[in-house]
């Protein structure tokens, strides 16, 4: 293992395997691979308290975002509303469960898991939980973080409100409600949460013990 410590300032590009010497960066700068331009690392900018606050805010706004209708149409006197969850179920009920599952995972399940996962990680770090159960939980959450982040597609869903509203306005009146507002706020909070979150920095807490 002592051999590796000599190499501690060297990192490898994950896209092209180039060996690059690490150096201190000013904040808001990002080091790119000199050969293939892949982002290598940036200055740790990962405030535990800030993330805790955003996790709590996201959890609170998650409830109205998923319980209140996000779109409402008025057509010849009849009113139809839908929540994000109902929209996924509606496709599923028509027999297209692949589509329904994809929508459900990307817009409801993955964001919920993402918030809970980051909240657990932040609490473990903040409360300094050293028991092996918490450490194992922490490691396995970090291992799955990339996948969950990739499956969260709130930004695309927000755009899809607009596209659907324009398409439906062709033959009916379309209204946005508090649900739309809450869902958009959920997207904004998670966007900032993911900007604050730094996976490499979270892994460094494992290195310390």
């Amino acid at each position: 293992m002592h051999e590796l410590d000599d190499h501690d300032s060297i990192i490898l590009c994950r896209s092209c395997d180039l060996a690059v010497r690490k150096r201190a960066l000013p904040s808001s700068a990002r080091a790119l691979c000199p050969r293939c331009d892949t982002a290598l690392y940036d200055a740790p900018y990962c405030s535990i308290n800030g993330m805790l606050a955003m996790c709590v805010a996201a959890l609170i706004i998650f409830i109205p975002a998923n319980l209140l209708p996000v779109l409402e149409i008025h057509f010849l006197g009849s009113i139809r509303t839908t929540t994000v969850f109902e929209a996924a179920i509606a496709v599923w009920a028509q027999g297209y469960w692949v589509v329904g599952l994809a929508v459900m995972v990307a817009a409801v399940i993955a964001p919920a898991v993402l918030i809970l996962s980051i909240l657990t990680q932040v609490l473990i770090v903040k409360l300094k939980l050293q028991q092996s159960f918490w450490q194992r939980t922490y490691t396995s959450l970090l291992k799955n973080q990339g996948l969950i982040a990739q499956m969260t597609m709130l930004e695309i869903y927000v755009i899809s409100f607009l596209v659907s509203a324009f398409q439906l306005s062709d033959f009916s009146d379309v209204y946005f409600g508090m649900g739309t507002f809450s869902f958009t706020m959920l997207f904004v909070i998670i966007l900032f949460l993911q900007r604050e979150y730094n996976l490499e920095h979270m892994w460094s807490f494992v290195d310390e013990h």
Partner: protein, 226 residues
């Protein structure tokens, strides 16, 4: 941005400290130094170790099978994408008249009603992005498999663009699910999904997997002579 600036300095430091005997800046693969990254947590490890020293995942220097896996996923995705474009994606009943809409006819309908910005968004997300992704990945894989003389740096930039933009194809599925949930007034006005929706969902899943599974370092192992 200041990003470019830092990367050059990183490059200089590497070429001076790693290879003392060689004065010219030589790009050294981590593999040649006996180092590799953990495939799960990206921690630096010795290639002689069998498990990561941080997260205990199994280490592998390269995933040579990933090129084949990626090709297989890509071919399947291409077949499904053809089906997704040929078959109808939604079934609209308007006052008893049933119309089948394919992805393309949906967009041309948007153009006819004068909603150009929305038509451009839907065209980009449902037609341009999936095809670009498949051609882009095919070029990338062909460059590895057949050693094509294409600039590796450009391929890599293209690959990162594909990785990022691929998610946006989900837009069409979200719109379909919202429409199906809202428009359900029997013979008067009713929208239902049609077979192409499943094919399209699978195209997104398979192309994302094809990009994720591929070990891009295989391209760079064959170092350029120039």
């Amino acid at each position: 941005m200041s990003t470019k600036h830092t990367c050059e300095q990183v490059d200089n430091e590497v070429s001076t400290t790693v290879n003392h005997t060689d004065t010219a800046p030589v790009h050294i693969q981590g593999n040649q130094m006996g180092l590799c990254l953990c495939p799960v947590c990206k921690k630096l490890n010795l290639t002689t170790n069998s498990n990561c020293r941080r997260c205990y995942s199994k280490l592998a220097t390269r995933n040579y099978a990933s090129v084949q896996q990626s090709w297989a996923l890509l071919v399947t995705a291409t077949i499904l994408l053809v089906l997704a474009n040929v078959y109808p994606i939604t079934l609209l009943t308007n006052r008893g008249v049933v119309t089948n809409d394919t992805i393309f006819s949906g967009i041309s309908h948007l153009v006819q009603t004068g909603m150009f910005p929305i038509a451009i968004i839907v065209f980009t997300a449902s037609i341009l992005v999936p095809w670009l992704k498949i051609f882009g990945l095919a070029t990338y894989l062909a460059a590895i498999s057949f050693n094509l003389p294409i600039s590796k740096r450009k391929l890599m930039v293209g690959f990162h663009v594909i990785e990022w933009i691929g998610r946006w194809s989900m837009l069409d599925l979200f719109v379909i699910s919202l429409t199906v949930a809202l428009v359900n007034m029997g013979q008067l006005l009713d929208a239902k999904p049609a077979p192409a929706a499943t094919a399209f969902a699978l195209v997104i899943l398979l192309t994302q997997l094809a990009a994720k599974v591929l070990d891009t370092r295989l391209l760079w192992d064959r170092l350029e002579k120039t």
